[in-house]
């Protein structure tokens, strides 16, 4: 009886693992890319407060970060009209994925008594792994604020995590290869690949894909597959095209390499190619290459 149960559990584990592995294969294969920890984790790491008082010290402002780093508790005591408290804080992305600030909202407060301003923490900002970002919250007490009253409010910063990552040049070669009716099913369908090439046509100063769909796919595949003895220009173009595709797929969002975003590297590479800055080709090729391999 016990043996049967044990066998059942083992079978279930194998089945679950197989489902997971199959799904992973369907989406580009299994990759282990956890550095330093494979998670999404944003915390407050620093907070400093001050106020606008010069001569008299009447109002007080204190702030403390909670043990889990998720909350700053601010206490403004003995406030009065015209008192301004400043809360300067730093957020750090301690996870291994880029984090996106989706929304910054100031909830539940009396607008006749308080005026709030949040500086530098704005929606649609990316925070790369290990990157810090500082914000300044100003709380201004207005004339209408009542004596002996207590006002409370909450600033909520909503994040979401980028769990995608840039794909290598090999991945993209594979997509075009399969799209050209070679063996296997591509992870990205042909229509999407075609859209990417159309967008590159309209935005790039270097690439131009013409002809039928198959012809355009073949042109892309050729660029992505420079020969082993290809010159630096062709190697740069290969990595640059892969970076373009990562950029358009949204898989480069939030990532930075040497402080540069994918878009900045694309611009730099295209500028070097367009102006024939041959001495810079290798530099930009390496940047494109490293960026495309950030997921490895």
């Amino acid at each position: 009886m016990k043996t049967k149960i044990f066998a059942l559990i083992i079978l279930a584990i194998i089945a679950l693992t197989s489902i997971g592995y199959s799904y992973a294969c369907l989406n580009g294969g299994v990759q282990i890319n956890c550095y330093p920890s494979c998670d999404c984790n944003v915390v407050f790491i620093k907070v400093r407060t001050y106020d606008n008082e010069i001569e008299k010290d009447v109002g007080k402002v204190y702030a403390q970060i909670s043990c889990d780093g998720g909350t700053i508790q601010v206490c403004i005591d003995n406030s009065y009209p015209c008192y301004k408290a400043y809360i300067n804080f730093t957020i750090k992305n301690k996870g291994s994925y880029p984090v996106h600030i989706d929304e910054v909202t100031i909830q539940d407060y009396d607008k006749t008594a308080l005026e709030m301003e949040m500086i530098n923490i704005i929606a649609c900002t990316w925070i790369s792994p290990c990157e810090t970002i500082s914000g300044l919250l100003t709380v201004h007490t207005l004339q209408e604020a009542q004596e002996c009253h207590t006002y409370t409010f909450k600033v909520v910063i909503k994040f979401s995590c980028q769990t995608e990552y840039p794909r290598t040049i090999g991945f993209w070669k594979n997509q075009f290869d399969k799209a050209l009716c070679k063996n296997g099913k591509p992870q990205i369908d042909q229509t999407t690949l075609e859209q990417y090439l159309t967008l590159i046509n309209s935005q790039s100063k270097i690439f131009s894909f013409t002809g039928s769909r198959s012809q355009r796919f073949q042109q892309a595949l050729n660029i992505l597959s420079p020969s082993t003895n290809a010159n630096m220009k062709d190697k740069l173009k290969a990595q640059l095209l892969a970076l373009w595709l990562n950029y358009l797929a949204g898989w480069a969002d939030g990532y930075k390499l040497n402080g540069k975003t994918a878009w900045q590297i694309i611009q730099g590479s295209e500028n070097a190619l367009k102006n024939g800055l041959t001495s810079q080709y290798e530099y930009w090729k390496n940047l494109c290459d490293d960026f495309n391999n950030l997921g490895d």
Partner: protein, 197 residues
């Protein structure tokens, strides 16, 4: 036994599924929770020293004095203004009467002492003053820090040349105003004096 294993197995499956769903939908929030506690500006008349008949309002904000006055008479009134708030207060004072014709026969002097903490000994400028006014007085009120108090002595004198028919009764209101930022609080001493030529 079978049933227990089945339950444990189901829980394990649910836990795995939940973990997967949670991870794939990771959204986090950071919060800045703020509490703003407002200050209070409040003064009151903590004590008074007068020879006149007096009535103090229940909130200790208005001291009403009544009595008679003769020509050349001086009336000394002392009050202790306490800052019971949480902010410092700038004190100013004004004097007004209800008889602008008769007020020209009056003169006044106000002397301020302090600020003092509640624990300070103020007897030398209050109930054991050697002279009137006590020595060391200021002509303008000093700033009054929170929880401190201020002694004010005021002399109201009717001129010796005041004609017998100058007035019958006059009301003199002395208002002390505490100010901080845009907030104010006041205490008043109201004299109702009947002329006895």
């Amino acid at each position: 036994m079978n049933r227990q294993v089945l339950v444990a197995f189901t829980i394990l499956l649910l836990a795995l599924a939940t973990t997967g769903i949670t991870y794939s939908h990771w959204i986090d929030t950071a919060r800045v929770q703020t509490t703003v506690s407002m200050a209070k500006l409040a003064i009151f008349i903590q004590n008074h020293n007068t020879t006149q008949t007096w009535i103090m309002s229940p909130d200790n904000h208005t001291l009403e004095l009544s009595g008679t006055i003769t020509s050349s008479q001086s009336i000394w009134t002392g009050i202790i203004i306490k800052n019971n708030g949480t902010t410092p207060a700038t004190i100013t004072y004004t004097i007004a009467t209800n008889d602008t014709e008769a007020e020209k026969w009056f003169s006044n002097q106000t002397y301020f002492y302090g600020p003092y903490l509640e624990t300070d000994d103020i007897s030398a400028v209050w109930d054991k003053a050697a002279t009137m006014p006590p020595s060391g007085g200021l002509s303008a009120p000093p700033e009054l820090p929170a929880k401190n108090k201020l002694v004010a002595w005021q002399d109201i004198t009717l001129s010796g040349t005041c004609p017998p028919d100058a007035f019958t009764t006059i009301e003199i209101t002395v208002t002390y105003t505490a100010t901080f930022s845009s907030w104010t609080d006041t205490v008043s001493v109201i004299y109702t004096l009947t002329y006895s030529p």
